[in-house]
C-alpha cells in the first residue's frame, strides 16, 4: 500500500495527457479544445473513480480471502 500515492499520481498524469490529446484530436481549433478540456477531464476521472469503486466492491464481496 505504500506505493499507492505514486500509482495514483502516475494515473493522474497519464490520464490527464490522454484526455488532453483526445480533446486536441476532437477539436481542430485550440480555443475550442481548451474549452472542452475541463469537462472531459471531469468525465474521465469521475468514470475512472466509478470503475475503481465497482472493482473494490466486487473484490471485497467475491474475492476476499481474509
Amino acid at each position: 500500500m505504500k506505493d499507492l500515492p505514486i500509482h495514483i499520481l502516475l494515473f493522474l498524469i497519464s490520464g490527464a495527457i490522454v484526455v488532453a490529446i483526445g480533446a486536441l484530436f476532437a477539436e481542430p481549433e485550440d480555443d475550442a479544445a481548451l474549452a472542452l478540456l475541463p469537462r472531459r477531464l471531469l468525465g474521465f476521472f469521475l468514470g475512472s473513480a466509478i470503475v475503481v469503486a465497482v472493482m473494490l466492491i466486487c473484490e471485497h464481496t467475491f474475492a476476499a480471502v481474509s
Binding site: S14, I17, I21, P28
Partner: protein
C-alpha cells in the same frame, strides 16, 4: 461548405493504398506520378534493405519460442511495408538454432521499423492523391501524408509547419514528457526491443525521441530490480500510441486545407449584458 479546390480524382484510392502498402511508390506510379513513386521507393525500400543487411533480418528471432508464429509480424512497425516484410519472412524465418546478434542489430531494426512507419504515411498520401489529384497552389502547406510523417519523426513537428505552434509545443511537451517519465521510472530498461518486443513497437511510434533514447540509454544489461519497470514500459508505449492520434490530427488538418474545407472558427461566447 466551400467548394473543393482540388482537381477530380486520378484513380481508385483503395487500389492506390494497397499498391503502396505492397510496394512503396507503386500507388503513385498507378496515379501517374513516376517521380514521386521512384523517390518513395528508393527512400523507403532503401531503409528496409539497409536495415535488413545490418540486422541480418533477425528481428523476429527476438521473440521467445512460444510467441513465434505465422502472424508474429502483424503488430510490428515493419508491417507498414508489407511487401518487404513478406519477402523478408520468406528469406529469413525463425532460426532453429540461436545465434549471436550482429553488431548492427539495433540500428538495423530501427531502420526496418522506420521504413514501415514511413510507408504507412505514404499509403495515406496515396489515398489522398487518388481522391483529389492536384490541389490548388493557394492551398499549399505540408501534404497530409508528409505532415503525418513529420509528426511521427518529432511529435508536433507537422503542426508546427502547419502554423499551429501552440498546439505543436503542447503536444511535444506532453508526449515526450510522458515518454521520459516512463524511461525514468524504468531506468531505461523499457527501451530495448529484445526485452519488450511489442511494447517497443508502441514506443517506436514516438519517432526520434524514442530512437534517440534507445541508443543513448536503452541497451544496458538488466542486473537489478527496477521497482517501476512495468509502469515505465506502459507509459512509454502509451506515449507512442497517442502520437498516432496526433499524426491523424496533422493529416486531417492538411487534408482540410487542401480541400478548401477549413475548420469553422470557434463560436464567440455570448456576453451577458449587465
Amino acid at each position: 461548405m466551400t467548394p473543393s479546390l482540388a482537381t477530380p480524382r486520378k484513380g481508385d484510392p483503395i487500389v492506390a493504398m494497397l499498391l503502396t502498402w505492397l510496394v512503396p511508390g507503386a500507388g503513385h506510379l498507378y496515379l501517374g506520378r513516376p517521380r514521386r513513386a521512384l523517390a518513395a521507393f528508393v527512400l523507403i525500400e532503401g531503409l528496409y534493405v539497409l536495415g535488413f543487411v545490418l540486422s541480418a533480418g533477425l528481428f523476429l528471432n527476438l521473440l521467445p519460442a512460444e510467441m513465434r508464429g505465422r502472424f508474429a509480424g502483424v503488430l510490428t512497425p515493419e508491417v507498414g511495408n508489407l511487401g518487404a516484410l513478406l519477402v523478408h519472412l520468406s528469406r529469413v524465418g525463425f532460426l532453429e538454432q540461436p545465434r549471436a546478434w550482429p553488431a548492427g542489430m539495433h540500428l538495423g531494426m530501427a531502420l526496418t521499423a522506420a521504413s514501415g512507419v514511413l510507408n504507412f504515411a505514404l499509403v495515406s498520401q496515396a489515398n489522398f492523391d487518388a481522391r483529389v489529384g492536384e490541389s490548388s497552389p493557394a492551398q499549399r502547406g505540408p501534404a497530409p501524408g508528409f505532415a503525418a510523417a513529420l509528426t511521427w519523426l518529432v511529435p508536433g513537428l507537422g503542426h508546427w509547419l502547419q502554423g499551429r505552434r501552440k498546439r505543436a509545443l503542447a503536444i511535444f511537451v506532453m508526449l515526450v514528457g510522458l515518454f521520459l517519465l516512463g524511461v525514468f521510472l524504468a531506468e531505461g530498461f523499457n527501451l530495448d526491443r529484445e526485452r519488450h518486443f511489442y511494447y517497443w513497437a508502441g514506443q517506436f511510434l514516438l519517432g526520434l525521441p524514442a530512437i534517440a533514447a534507445e541508443f543513448l540509454a536503452g541497451h544496458a544489461r538488466l542486473d537489478h530490480d527496477v521497482a517501476y519497470l512495468d509502469a515505465g514500459v506502459v507509459l512509454g508505449c502509451v506515449a507512442g500510441m497517442l502520437n498516432v492520434l496526433v499524426m491523424l490530427d496533422a493529416y486531417g488538418w492538411s487534408e482540410d486545407r487542401r480541400l478548401g474545407d477549413e475548420p469553422a472558427p470557434a463560436p464567440t461566447p455570448a456576453r451577458s449584458e449587465a
